[in-house]
């Protein structure tokens, strides 16, 4: 379960506070996954005490509102990343960047299919640059995709493109990259302008140790 409590001294009405919060959800807490399981108790409460000496925020289009939205987004992103970094048994923080999707919804579906795939996540735990499992995740996502237009990157290395392994693929370099504790998996679908970045972690024995023992 994820619980989040955010406090600010800003002077702002509840309706505007809610709108500013809503605007940050998709790219932060709704863009993370540890184990693909949605809790029955996830909650975020944002409280604005109004005790600052600064002027009230009254207009969504004003500079203070934009700055507040940006600062709120930074806090939410930081906390979301910390939740992933504490993923049960995690040893690697993984950023999944999807571009070139037919639309943003498709990009989200592909990104989450990769980030939630046990086979992708165990390959990462085993430091295996297994781009074939990424192809699988793209295919099962339900989003529009064309095998022959796919490009898959790990970091800045292109591993697969145009429906097969990239001619420049270097096994030793890819294996060395996988030893890092912060990895970027990039997928370009080559279809449109839809994009989404999500974050996850690897799936290790530690996850099973913790959850096999966590009972009443």
């Amino acid at each position: 379960t994820m619980l989040v409590y955010i406090f600010t001294d800003a002077k702002i009405a509840p309706e505007m506070l809610q709108k500013l919060l809503n605007g940050q959800l998709a790219s932060t807490f709704n863009a993370i996954t540890v184990d693909s399981d949605t809790s029955t108790s996830d909650a975020l409460i944002l409280a604005a005490t109004g005790k600052t000496t600064a002027q009230p925020i009254t207009d969504m289009r004003s500079a203070p509102a934009r700055r507040f939205g940006k600062a709120l987004g930074q806090v939410m992103m930081d906390l979301a990343h910390q939740v992933v970094r504490d993923g049960e048994g995690a040893t690697k923080f993984v950023e999944v960047q999807v571009t070139g999707a037919a639309n943003n919804n498709d990009a989200h579906r592909v990104a989450m299919a990769i980030a939630n795939s046990p086979l992708v996540k165990t390959a990462i735990a085993g430091e295996d640059a297994n781009w074939g499992r990424v192809v699988m995740a793209v295919g099962k996502s339900g989003a529009q995709a064309d095998r022959d237009l796919l490009t898959i990157r790990f970091g800045d290395m292109v591993l697969a493109e145009n429906g097969w392994r990239a001619p420049s693929y270097d096994e030793a370099a890819a294996s060395a990259y996988m030893k890092r504790d912060h990895l970027v998996v990039g997928v370009d679908l080559g279809l449109g302008r839809g994009k989404r970045t999500v974050w996850t972690c690897d799936l290790t024995h530690g996850y099973i140790d913790i959850n096999a023992d966590y009972r009443s």
Partner: protein, 204 residues
């Protein structure tokens, strides 16, 4: 893969080096205490008191089987807010108070009612959360028994302890902050969170 995957450590190897220094948010006070809901020998309850005039926003899981505390928070935020008498948040870790039928709402009412009474705040301005094991009735009396003690040690500088108290299988407390200069003064934002497993939020 089996030969190369690593065992989990006591603290995640991906944890930040330290908990951040959090600025005081005027009008917000925190307390952490031990109610022994599931965990022994550690804090497991957080209480926050928010000053009169506080505006509240929320986002909650879209799970169809969401907990009584979630339904209660959603109901309390569904109408126009009466902010005149302040607000409060109470959280316990160790029992999710989900899928416990009528007992769920009764437990929420006992816990939020206890806070309302201790802090002289209307019950519909007291928001609760529970995390942990699903399907077991929440022993609300263990929480209500420590509310008075928590109310007596509310402290504007207590956010870090509060972050510790809401942990379950977390290996480190989570905090973040941002500030910016606006016309007439600084605006500060402080956040605390818990989360490590059962994490694929679908919030609205």
């Amino acid at each position: 893969v089996a030969k190369t995957t690593k065992k989990a450590k006591a603290v995640s190897p991906l944890a930040p080096e330290s908990f951040p220094e959090l600025p005081v948010i005027a009008g917000a006070e925190f307390a952490a205490g031990a109610a022994g809901v599931k965990y022994q020998g550690r804090t497991d309850v957080m209480l926050v008191r928010l000053a009169a005039g506080t505006a509240i926003a929320g986002a909650f899981t879209k799970s169809s089987t969401r907990a009584a505390s979630i339904l209660d928070c959603q109901a309390k935020l569904s109408g126009k807010q009466e902010t005149g008498q302040g607000a409060a948040i109470i959280v316990n870790s160790g029992n999710a108070n989900a899928f416990t039928g009528k007992n769920g709402q009764e437990s929420v009412d006992k816990v939020t009612g206890g806070v309302a009474s201790a802090l002289s705040i209307p019950r519909d301005r007291v928001f609760s959360s529970s995390t942990g094991v699903i399907g077991e009735p929440l022993p609300a009396e263990r929480i209500t028994a420590v509310i008075g003690q928590l109310a007596g040690k509310l402290d504007a500088g207590g956010a870090a302890d509060a972050a510790q108290a809401i942990m379950t299988t977390d290996t480190f407390p989570k905090g973040a902050t941002a500030s910016f200069e606006a016309e007439g003064g600084t605006i500060n934002i402080v956040g605390i969170a818990k989360g490590s497993g059962m994490i694929a939020p679908d919030m609205a």
